[in-house]
Symmetry: C2
Subunit: 223 residues, 2 copies
Amino acid sequence: MRAQSNLPAQSAERQQSVTAARLLAAAGELMTERNSIDISLSELAKKSGINAALVKYHFGSKDGLLMALLARDSRSEIENLDYLMRQPISPTEKLKLHIAGIIKAYHRFPYLNRLIHRMLYESSDKSAKEVSRFFAKPVFEIQRKLLEQGVEAGEFRKVDPMMFYISLIGACDHLFHGRTAMSPTLGGGVTDEVRRRYVAHMTELICGGILKASPAKNGKTAK
Amino acid sequence: MRAQSNLPAQSAERQQSVTAARLLAAAGELMTERNSIDISLSELAKKSGINAALVKYHFGSKDGLLMALLARDSRSEIENLDYLMRQPISPTEKLKLHIAGIIKAYHRFPYLNRLIHRMLYESSDKSAKEVSRFFAKPVFEIQRKLLEQGVEAGEFRKVDPMMFYISLIGACDHLFHGRTAMSPTLGGGVTDEVRRRYVAHMTELICGGILKASPAKNGKTAK
């Protein structure tokens, strides 16, 4: 019952064949199993049992495959976010669920973070623009509206949406980025327990900061 | 008048010759000019006017040069941080200066961020351990003590120091990382103005969060 968001290129993407969808599913599984986005088209053909020529036909190159996978997963996340924003809950509640949602998305698609980094920082300008179109811009726009709603509702102070986007995405991303994720200080990587603690930490930090809350901010009335 | 911090390997590093120091200075300048950390040892020899054999002698490989540069700049930043922590100011004031300091360090050494990413995520485990020893661990330890002081002083609520480290470094890092820095939404990259706005944003966000401060939190007394 989720309304379709109006992402550009969505209708074209939706028409991709069942074969392409199966290939993407296999690619996602392979990346998760391997804990790496470095998979070849021939490995994918082997994993999926689908002819290598068809892999080539559907995605052209490895970058084409990565971009298609990113588009699929971004679309699913943006739809979730869109759905969340239409719920009859306060901006503060939406923000909390959004923070948890970003961290869950990175957890659900362990390769998403690496894919975004690869496409944004190591690929062509064209790839970077695509990532921006699929992922960064829609997330930024939704956050911008949420921040406006929060201010209008008298719940949020006014913040610069671009600064907010960079700080929130940067902080969430960093837990999963590269060797941070394997850091021995985290005691064995980003476990479910670490992820839950990070959701709690980020929610409290973004909502209330580190300074000790006054009684009024805790929802009690100061005498 | 700054006391020397007890960083491991510091004494050995301190003994490096004047030639090595000149080479590092030239490497930093070259990276800043180029806006890239991709410089070769022969380009460095040309820029510095120092014989290529000496470049090889002092740093062995390009990774050796990058690590030496990272060690030099990390040391300087850790010394600043160490100095800051010994000032007779409140934990809240220290935290604010620390946030501004991280962002300023990335600005002052535009290649620092890229160096850390390269060494942490694309190099060997050995490089990652070195970066951790030079940069991540000392910063984490200083933050941990600051957080303790803040709680003892009744200024901070209790936060997990590892979660805090990841979120603060991740958020500050993200402004300068890869194409974020060139994003057209930032209107021409990370200018002095953008940097100042980000310092203000991060300070407010980390200290007080986004929820509208109660009168008591603003330092006024609620009636």
